[in-house]
């Protein structure tokens, strides 16, 4: 009964979404408080019905109800409970339901928290959110129903891909979707404002918190994904410019651009058209990601193997949603107010430059992602676009953006003082260059480009700290005065510093790890050793272990330093999952401060003299922790900004006049 109640609730949510769209649109157009109120109620009801449906799917996974086709295809009775639950969103159908849940959740949040929004804008935004819900829910009900039943239930399920049975990946999709789909609110607000024909500071004030929330969640989602790729796939890397990674990175880049342009629109009333365009583009890129992952057009470790019919349907949905948005934008944009004026040297101009660079970078990533598809369609040739392309195109754009970044927050609105900013920043530049030179002289082998990368990282961190120092009048006023200023400083300012410094931390980690990673791979018999930079790696034992749903060979690998002292003992595994007969490598990582010693064990083979041997690949990944810490700081920065009262006023019920 519970599963069928879930199936009914899914259909009910589709029909309630239709009601939400109709009631809110008519309510807004006719200025009817009752109809707009009913539309808000429908948004809450849609979310409630979908919660019931999602709970029913989780129940089916937890109880291993193989009469549900999705459970039979993606679960198994031997699977640990966490992965049974995570299996609910591990498949195409289940993840579509998660997408719909998040989409309707954001609609309900707009209905519940949106009292400070002008009523017509709110009604139209809820109507648009409802229309998006209708599209995605109809697709889920008719083409990807996760609660579809089997009349003859199999005895056992086919289980979830073992690579996906991992804690980071259990939580990666919910964060990723909360980010992806969070941009739907921004899209809805943008479309609603275009219908109204009014894009002004009030509108930007509304867009900003949703953008911040979506962008921060997407940052966490992407970081979890990169971390998973790093320690689960066993390739030693963390980003592969895989099409599906790019699909999540594009909305992130556009979201970052939108975050900044929305500030200009809010503070100065400028760039309204551009901000609305970015708001439409962010969700369009999210939908493009969904299409790329699910249509079967791309081959990727992440891609769901889904038939082309569903892909065509998704393409049509994306075409309808994005087409409607950009068509209306095309009609309305010429009549939008151009807003406040500003000089070429001003904070606005710095943000415009940031936006141009981020948008160009997004276009480059889009080209790199779609180029193989275009070539295949044109002349049937299969090509792949990887790191060399992105290093030559994307990286220079980002370096340019990073070079300008610390100056932006120091410039005044409207008319900035370039010389004054340069006077403040030269010390940061000098320090960063000095640290880069030291790295060039000390770290072996000498690498000029990577040392340059470190200069950029230190420049970003130093710039962020300097800006905070300026705000607090650090060393220029008394300690008491600086403390008073720190207490009075809006959280948004702290968030900006954290996010910009986080970016610097990431650049440091990425430059160092990519340039100075040490790798060694050799087939080792028991007690065999191989050198790994300043360490020695010895395979001391191999034991057989039995997990809840796998059998494994576990290597005991001892890592020693130059004087022979044990640094750590790693236990990489080669796991065999009988269900599905799949083999995976379980990486063992020894964390040494910011560095990782990373060990992977291959399958057993015949070594010298017929003795069994195992291919042991080991890496020293210096400063790799910074790669994950940096984005985490950025996400925390976003959340701290979101907690700023000035921003929160855009979401919560109004409690009084803002103070700053």
């Amino acid at each position: 009964m519970i599963v069928e109640l879930g199936a009914f609730a899914l259909i009910l949510s589709l029909l309630l979404s239709v009601a939400q769209t109709g009631l809110s649109a008519v309510g807004g157009a006719r200025r009817s408080p009752v109809l707009a109120g009913a539309g808000r109620g429908a948004a809450l009801a849609t979310f409630l019905a979908l919660l019931v449906s999602f709970a029913a799917l989780i129940y089916a996974f937890v109880t291993s109800d193989f009469s549900v086709a999705n459970v039979a295809a993606n679960s198994h009775t031997d699977k640990p409970m966490l992965y049974k639950v995570a299996g609910a969103w591990g498949s195409h159908e289940g993840s579509m339901l998660l997408w719909c849940l998040v989409l309707t959740g954001y609609g309900a949040a707009m209905a519940f928290f949106g009292d400070s929004l002008p009523p017509r804008l709110r009604a139209y935004a809820i109507a648009v959110q409802g229309a998006l819900g209708v599209l995605f829910l109809a697709y889920t009900v008719f083409a990807s129903n996760p609660l579809a039943r089997l009349l003859d239930a199999p005895i056992e399920g086919r289980s979830l891909n073992p690579l996906l049975q991992d804690p980071a990946l259990a939580f990666h999709p919910p964060f990723l979707y909360a980010g992806y789909v969070g941009f739907s609110v921004v899209y809805s607000l943008s479309l609603a404002a275009l219908i109204e024909g009014r894009i002004d500071a009030a509108w930007a004030r509304w867009v900003r918190p949703w953008t911040l929330a979506a962008w921060s969640l997407l940052t966490v989602g992407i970081t979890l994904g990169a971390f998973w790729a790093y320690y689960e796939l066993g390739w030693g890397g963390w980003w592969f410019w895989d099409p599906v990674e790019n699909a999540s990175f594009m909305p992130w880049l556009i979201g970052a651009a939108l975050l900044h342009s929305a500030i200009v629109t809010e503070r100065r009333g400028a760039l309204p058209g551009w901000t609305a365009f970015l708001a439409l583009a962010a969700y369009t890129f999210s939908m493009l990601g969904a299409f790329l992952v699910r249509s079967g057009v791309l081959t990727s470790v992440h891609a769901f193997a889904v038939d082309p019919t569903r892909g065509v349907l998704l393409l049509i949905m994306m075409g309808v949603a994005a087409g409607a948005g950009f068509l209306l934008f095309g009609i309305r944009a010429p009549s939008l107010n151009r807003g406040g004026q500003f000089r070429p040297i001003s904070r606005e101009s710095a943000i415009v430059l940031n936006n141009i660079l981020l948008s160009t970078a997004t276009a480059v990533v889009l080209l790199g992602t779609l180029y193989p598809l275009i070539r295949e369609a044109m002349d049937g040739e299969a090509v792949s676009v990887g790191a060399p392309f992105f290093n030559l195109t994307f990286t220079p754009l980002m370096i340019l953006a990073f070079a300008v970044l610390p100056a932006g927050p120091l410039l005044a609105w409207k008319r900035g003082d370039a010389k004054g900013v340069a006077r403040k920043l030269w010390i940061v530049l000098a320090l960063a260059a000095l640290l880069g030179l030291i790295a060039y002289a000390v770290v072996q082998p000498r690498k000029a480009l990577a040392s340059g990368g470190l200069v950029v990282g230190f420049w970003l961190i130093g710039g962020a700290l300097l800006e905070m120092g300026e705000r607090l009048k650090l060393f220029r006023a008394s300690v008491a005065e600086s403390l008073r200023r720190a207490r009075g400083l809006p959280r948004g300012a702290w968030g900006t510093t954290l996010a910009h410094a986080g970016l610097g931390v990431f650049v440091l980690g990425a430059s160092f790890e990519t340039a100075w990673r040490v790798e060694a791979a050799q087939a080792l018999s028991l007690n065999g050793s191989q050198p790994l930079g300043a360490y020695t790696v010895t395979l001391t034992d191999v034991v057989t272990v039995e997990g809840p749903n796998f059998l494994a060979e576990r290597g005991i690998v001892t890592v020693t330093n130059k004087v022979g002292a044990e640094v750590c003992r790693a236990a990489p595994e080669r796991r065999f999952y009988p269900t599905g007969a799949q083999t995976t490598s379980e990486v063992a990582i020894c964390a040494k401060g910011l560095d990782d010693i990373y060990v992977v064990m291959g399958e057993r083979r015949a070594g010298e003299g017929g003795k069994p041997a195992w291919l042991v690949r080991a890496y020293v990944n210096p400063w790799v922790r910074l790669i994950f810490l940096g984005p985490l700081l950025m996400a925390i920065g976003g959340i701290v900004s979101l907690s700023d009262r000035r921003v929160r006023l855009g979401v919560g019920r109004r409690t009084g006049e803002a103070t700053s």
Binding site: E4, L12, R31, P118, I155, A202, R654, A658
Partner: protein, 369 residues
């Protein structure tokens, strides 16, 4: 079914209630506050910057003027929403009522209202209560998994579970069960040799190091273990020591009772290897595994017994005839076909299915002693 519809109706009422509650709480609105607030805030910020000495006099004037202009523009754009009459309320009730009714209608078309939940534990409980002869090996394995969990120190359920899994074609699952069983009873030669045989089947007839290790353990526990001796001798032949392997086989044959199962096939195999100097190319297939064969034979006997007691089961007879045909038991197959023909001669569909089942080709059988 009734409980489902009550729950569905309950959910519809709650969601409809949410819609109507929000509609009922709606009040006439004046959006001036929401429209003006950000502009007021901007004006306040300009004043604060001026206070902090961050704006020059002319900049302050310009900023004030700009903020003031936008405040006025926003004030002109503000609008009021009047109180609604009865019409919109009726529309809201109709819309939500229609949504719920259409949802019920659509669900009847695409859903399966009568289909109950089928949690795994409930299904296993039902199989456990059923006559084992009616269950296929996969279900038997699922039941035995529960029994094994109830008796964690008893290897028997695990051994039977392994046999059932093997019969269902799940050799990896069989291996897993036998690994657990040898941990519980490390002195049981029969379990070690079964585990070894499972490795051999998984390796498509190759006797690898894992299998040798398992057979070695079996011989440590019981030097006379027939299965382990058979396979280790076979491994010697496969590795080129034909004479040594044959000698081991002959020794094994000499020790077997005259009526021991598999004695004849071992003698035939010895003759074959002696003549050709190598093992025949055929490798023991999973379905030819003696354990699997024994398992299937037991199930077929169970089915025959059941049909004897309640013969009015055309599907059962078709399965029985097919099973005998697959096992190569032609006499039993013909006897079952004759009995079934007498019972169902008036039902052409059943007769056609029976004839098809009888024509199923038998599988080649190689058994170990």
């Amino acid at each position: 079914m009734i409980a489902f519809w009550i729950a569905a109706a309950g959910l519809s009422v709650v969601t409809a209630g949410l819609v109507l509650r929000e509609a009922a709480r709606a009040r006439p609105v004046d959006d001036a506050d929401t429209r003006l607030e950000p502009h007021r805030r901007r004006l306040a910020e300009v004043e604060r910057l001026a206070q902090d000495g961050l704006l020059a006099e002319d900049e302050l004037k310009a900023a004030r003027a700009e903020a003031g202009r936008s405040l006025l523009a926003a004030a002109e754009q503000s609008e009021t929403w009047p109180r609604d009459g009865a019409g919109p309320r009726k529309v809201a009730v109709a819309a939500v009522g229609l949504a719920c009714a259409l949802a019920a209608g659509l669900y009847i078309v695409v859903g399966r209202p009568g289909l109950p939940d089928q949690p795994f534990t409930q299904r296993v409980a039902a199989w456990r209560a059923a006559d084992p002869a009616t269950l296929d090996p996969g279900k038997i394995a699922a039941v035995l998994e529960g029994v094994a969990a109830e008796r964690p120190n008893d290897p028997e359920p695990l051994v039977f579970m392994a046999k059932a899994r093997a019969a269902a074609g799940d050799m990896a699952g069989a291996e897993q069960a036998l690994r657990k069983a040898v941990r519980i009873a490390p002195k049981r030669a029969d379990i070690w040799s079964l585990l070894g045989e499972t490795f051999v089947i998984e390796a498509k007839g190759q006797i690898g190091s894992d299998a040798k290790l398992a057979f070695g353990e079996a011989l440590k526990a019981d030097p006379a273990d027939v299965r382990a001796r058979y396979y280790l001798a076979r491994a010697r032949i496969a590795e080129g020591d034909v004479a040594g392997g044959l000698a081991d086989w002959r020794g094994l044959l000499a020790g077997l009772a005259p009526n021991a199962p598999g004695r004849e096939s071992l003698a035939a195999e010895i003759a074959l290897v002696q003549a050709s100097g190598k093992l025949p190319g055929a490798e023991p297939a999973a379905e030819a595994n003696p354990q699997v064969q024994g398992m299937i034979a037991g199930m077929v006997d169970g089915l025959a017994q059941r049909l004897k007691q309640s013969p009015d089961d055309p599907d059962g007879w078709v399965r029985l005839v097919r099973a005998y045909a697959v096992l190569g038991e032609t006499t039993k197959r013909d006897a079952a076909l004759a009995t079934a023909t007498a019972l169902f001669k008036d039902q052409p569909k059943v007769m056609s299915a029976l004839r098809q089942a009888a024509d199923t080709p038998a599988q080649a059988k190689t058994t170990t002693p």
